[in-house]
């Protein structure tokens, strides 16, 4: 497994055109965490929805050199998971939203109690919902994670737990993540930063100290 080059491009977006945004191009290598910033309403969520093919867009988007059009849409979305800022729950119990039983260990790593699983999703706090939505998405074993303001309403400890889980996942599954975030000081392991402003996506220069060994 380790023979795979660590910087092989995983998510590749070329000239993606959607709504008012200028054509967007960027690449994310495997095992990287990138941050996407931008004012509210600048089109960050729109960009994510276009990448997962939930709204019509033009341009080339590929994951692991496979074009999204080469896969049925639902298979593409299993590989490229988008976690919206507000998760939706439709069954009566939390656990009915999961395909497999969740281990107590995994839940504990996010500071969650197993008793939550039998609860009605309506009784969850927004923080608990965010964490459970992350676990629900990871069940699909995605290669790309688009995380929309994950951690926005979490306390410092919870943020660290979520970041640790995501970082561990990226390493283990050779995946990459684009993390939409307004306040990104706590996302220390991020290797690149993008800003969406006036419909244009630009990559910020990486501070040399941030380069991982």
């Amino acid at each position: 497994m380790n023979s795979t080059a660590p910087h092989a491009t995983l998510l590749e977006v070329q000239g993606l055109k959607v709504a008012h945004l200028q054509p967007v191009s960027f690449c994310l290598p495997a095992r990287t965490l990138a941050i996407l910033r931008g004012a509210s309403g600048s089109g960050k969520s729109l960009l994510c929805r276009a990448i997962i093919d939930l709204i019509p867009s033009t341009g080339r988007v590929s994951c692991d050199r496979q074009l999204r059009e080469a896969l049925p849409a639902h298979r593409w979305r299993q590989q490229v998971q988008y976690l919206p800022a507000e998760s939706q729950w439709w069954c009566d119990r939390v656990l009915d939203h999961f395909k497999q039983p969740l281990s107590g260990e995994l839940l504990a790593s996010l500071g969650l109690d197993q008793s939550l699983l039998a609860q009605d999703p309506l009784t969850l706090s927004s923080g608990q919902k965010q964490k459970l939505a992350l676990l629900r998405s990871l069940e699909n074993k995605p290669r790309v994670l688009l995380l929309d303001e994950l951690g926005a309403n979490l306390d410092a400890l919870s943020r660290q737990q979520v970041l640790a889980l995501v970082s561990h996942y990226l390493d283990r599954h050779q995946a990459c993540a684009l993390w939409i975030c307004h306040d990104d000081a706590w996302l220390e392991s991020a290797t690149s930063r993008f800003v969406l402003e006036n419909g244009i996506l630009t990559q910020l220069p990486t501070p040399p100290a941030d380069q991982p060994a």
Binding site: I52, D53, L54, P56, A73, H74, R77, Q81, W90, N140
Partner: protein, 265 residues
């Protein structure tokens, strides 16, 4: 059984109309906004039924299958129009009309022909005295079912858009993402039919049977016809609704399994 029928005159109908008028006044007072549709529907029922009385008499005097086909076509197209007339959300363009018309053709019309040829066997099979009332009852009930099913499905898709998209984001197929709303729509569409069957005889005497008994048919004959009609109606409504909801669910998504609410208005 005597064949004596008590005739109804215009004055009797006027008395019944007063009751509808009272309902309209209540709607005005309570701001239910029902008075307009109520008035239009009441006037339509009067004119349409009077007209159909004349037309039926005219048709019964003729014996060609061509008239059956002609009558069935008019009824089918009218039903297709009515399904979509009172929806809060409906498909843009003519999709709703075509989907419901095709669904009713495949359910009500085929079933009516099947019942005529195989079960009731009038001579000839298209005998208009049998075929037109039978087709009318099947179409009327299927129309109701499809209309209720569409209403629930399209309203559900509209209000639960975020939920459907969440399920799509989790990698579910379009069919799976809309499955709970689809089930709900099918249930809503079938409830009136199932209620009518379940309550028949205990709570209500079905309209057709009542009509036959008032017209002098022995009760046991009327009952047997009613049972046959109920089962035909349920089968027709079920297949028609299934077909219409199936077509609509497909129309709500495109080939990339995106929810396309822009196809509604």
């Amino acid at each position: 059984m005597n064949q004596h029928i008590i005739p109804i005159d215009a004055g009797d109908l006027a008395l019944a109309a007063l009751l509808l008028l009272a309902l309209g006044v209540l709607s005005l007072m309570q701001r239910l906004a029902l008075e307009r549709p109520l008035a239009i529907a009441a006037i339509r029922s009067l004119l349409q039924l009077l007209a159909v009385g004349y037309i039926l008499q005219w048709l019964f005097d003729r014996g060609s299958p061509l008239y059956f086909v002609l009558a069935a076509l008019v009824m089918l197209l009218a039903a297709g129009r009515e399904v979509n007339a009172r929806q809060k959300r409906r498909f843009r363009g003519s999709f709703g009309f075509f989907a419901s018309t095709i669904s009713m053709l495949l359910s009500s019309v085929l079933l009516a022909i099947f019942a005529l040829v195989v079960i009731i066997e009038p001579q000839p099979w298209f005998s208009l005295q049998y075929s037109i009332p039978l087709l009318g009852m099947l179409l009327g009930n299927t129309l109701n079912g499809i209309s209720l099913g569409f209403d629930r499905l399209l309203q559900g898709a509209w209000t639960q858009r975020q939920l459907i998209e969440q399920r799509l984001m989790l990698g579910e197929t379009a069919a799976s993402a809309i499955s709970s709303i689809r089930t709900e729509a099918f249930r809503a569409a079938m409830i009136p039919t199932i209620n009518a069957m379940a309550a028949a005889g205990l709570v209500s005497l079905p309209g057709m049977m009542t009509g036959q008994i008032l017209g002098g048919t022995p009760p046991m004959e009327a009952v047997k016809y009613q049972i046959l009609i109920f089962w035909l109606i349920t089968a027709g409504t079920g297949t028609g609704v299934f077909c219409a909801i199936h077509l609509s669910c497909r129309r709500l998504f495109d080939t990339r399994e995106r929810l396309r609410l822009d196809r509604l208005r």
